[in-house]
């Protein structure tokens, strides 16, 4: 379900991303170049999602960022009947996508009606420019 925005309201941006180097900065830098990057432990190869300073499996603090295939399945979703924030026009859905790599990320679907959403449906990433300086990774059904 395509999210409709209220042009007069600023969409909430990822927090403080201009201010501090944070665990998620490379993720959002990748999105600016239409890349979906995942943080991976250099020592044991586990995906770290959401990104973090240390691997919970082996406590290594060395990580790398690797491109995801961008393919996955719809794992769950919710549909807002009332908008919790003036930037978003209800009704709209937020979805949880399970990527092929096994990690799950929150996003939105594009070009899908809410009644067409089905758990398990195959999806692939697409990048939507939602504001002058904000691109978000979203998902569309796989043809």
């Amino acid at each position: 379900m395509t999210v409709e925005y209220n042009a007069e309201q600023k969409i909430p941006y990822p927090a403080l991303w201009h201010v501090l180097y944070r665990s998620s900065t490379p993720f959002w830098d990748g999105v600016k170049e239409d890349k979906l990057l995942l943080q991976k432990c250099k020592s044991c190869g586990s995906f770290l999602n959401p990104p973090r300073p240390m691997c919970p499996k082996c406590q290594s603090m060395e990580q790398e960022w690797v491109p995801a295939t961008g393919k996955g399945k719809l794992y769950s979703w919710v549909t807002y009947q009332e908008s919790p924030h003036p930037a978003f026009k209800a009704p709209y859905s937020a979805v949880l996508i399970e990527l092929e790599e096994g990690v799950r990320i929150v996003s939105n679907m594009v070009k899908v009606k809410p009644e067409e959403l089905q758990i398990g449906m195959p999806v692939q990433v697409t990048f939507e420019k939602v504001a002058e300086d904000l691109i978000l990774p979203k998902f569309e059904t796989m043809s």
């Binding site: 999210v3 909430p12 941006y13 998620s24 769950s76 919710v78 009332e82 937020a94 949880l96």
Partner: protein, 389 residues
């Protein structure tokens, strides 16, 4: 841990009547609740030597001490989630550090800062909104905002995996409303609702309905913990703490632990259950009444599973029809009306557990000699089991 086995008891409870507009500052009602609890115990205020609270709630200990004139305060602590400050109180007493520890929870969430004239609330809400970086980075830009949405993601998956119907999810709110309607202290539900009322209730964030979400309330509660020896000279027979624990799990994220192999179970609550039963030396079948976290009612079935009252995936079917969870059923739940009936206020569950043990509940369960209370469904959890002397 053996430190938490039968060493301490709850000997006093103080409850300022819940309200949607309490008309006082949090400082005022915090002092009021502690005084009520100290009087309930039959204790001299000067003997209280420990004060603990939730990090984000109410005025800090210095203010409460200033109001109540506690001259012997030697221990203060704050904990974050649910009713976990109880662990600070019990640890302080059981270890011999203090004699009488008071846990107070004061928060005027319904009336708002303008009316409760409290700076404490503002700090609490800023912390909530600004400092959770994962939420701000990975949920908010996509419009996944607010707890009903967070919980809804988990609940849709749960309903999908176990073929749960919306109607099955409605029985916890129905039974809570029935209990609340018989409890004059409960602010919400003058009369009980029917399952049809639930089905007709507004869908806020599909699949979460308005009647799934516990309303905000103004409240102030204090609970006194002491040793079994000290308890002998006090007014009420003690509610003995058979076991108490916190439970956490890796990849935990408040209401959004989406990264685990499965998102349809509560490993933190499972930990609490295993530890409580092990320390207390009892099983789920020995629990006569349970006070579960119904801040979001659809998380109750998952708690029933984690706590061993039914098998995985059967929690919603367990509640269907309501008879098993009503007074007189297999496991009476949330007998004061729960968070749905009393408002969302975690320590109210411990108060109700104490009342069941004392025999003074508005919905008193016969032979309520062992009572369970837990908090923190969908995040770090904690719980305790109380028994009669």
């Amino acid at each position: 841990m053996e430190l938490y086995k039968e060493k301490t008891a709850i000997v006093g409870i103080g409850v300022v009547p819940f309200s949607t507009d309490i008309g006082r500052t949090e400082w005022y009602t915090a002092c009021q609740a502690v005084k009520l609890a100290v009087d309930d115990a039959g204790l001299d205020m000067k003997r209280v030597d420990g004060l603990v609270k939730n990090v984000d709630d109410g005025p800090d200990q210095m203010y409460v001490q200033k109001g109540l004139g506690m001259d012997n305060l030697t221990y203060t602590a704050e904990s974050h989630w649910g009713t976990s400050p109880m662990m600070n109180a019990i640890t302080a007493v059981a270890s011999g550090s203090v004699n009488y520890a008071v846990y107070y929870q004061t928060a005027h969430r319904a009336s708002g800062p303008e009316k409760s004239i409290s700076d404490f609330r503002v700090a609490r809400e800023m912390r909530e909104d600004l400092l959770d970086l994962i939420r701000a980075d990975f949920y908010t830009p996509f419009g996944l905002i607010g707890q009903p949405g967070y919980v809804g993601m988990t609940i849709r998956r749960y309903m999908h995996e176990f073929n749960v119907t919306p109607e099955q999810m409605g029985w916890v709110p129905v039974v809570c409303s029935e209990n609340a309607a018989r409890n004059t202290e409960a602010v919400f539900f003058d009369k009980s609702i029917t399952i049809q009322d639930y089905i007709n209730s507004k869908v806020v964030v599909d699949p979460i309905r308005e009647l799934d979400c516990a309303p905000k309330v103004d409240g102030s509660i204090a609970i006194i913990v002491t040793t079994l020896e000290n308890a002998k000279s006090l007014r009420h027979p003690p509610a003995i703490i058979m076991a108490a624990t916190q439970g956490t799990s890796s990849e935990g994220q408040f209401f959004t632990s989406y990264m685990r192999d499965t998102i349809t179970e509560l490993p933190e609550m499972q930990f609490v259950a295993d530890e409580l039963y092990r320390v207390a030396g009892i099983g789920a079948k020995d629990v006569k009444v349970a006070q579960l976290d119904d801040s979001f009612a659809p998380l109750v079935p998952m708690q029933l599973e984690a706590l061993g009252f039914c098998d995985r995936g059967e929690g919603a079917a367990f509640c269907e029809g309501g008879d098993r969870i009503r007074n007189g059923g297999q496991l009476p739940l949330n007998t004061a009306g729960g968070a749905l009936g009393q408002g969302r206020f975690d320590s109210a569950r411990i108060v109700e557990a104490v009342r069941q043990v004392r025999g003074t509940s508005a919905n008193q369960v016969k032979d309520a000699d062992m009572v369970l209370s837990v908090s923190g469904a969908g995040g770090p959890a904690d719980g305790l089991i109380l028994r009669r002397q």
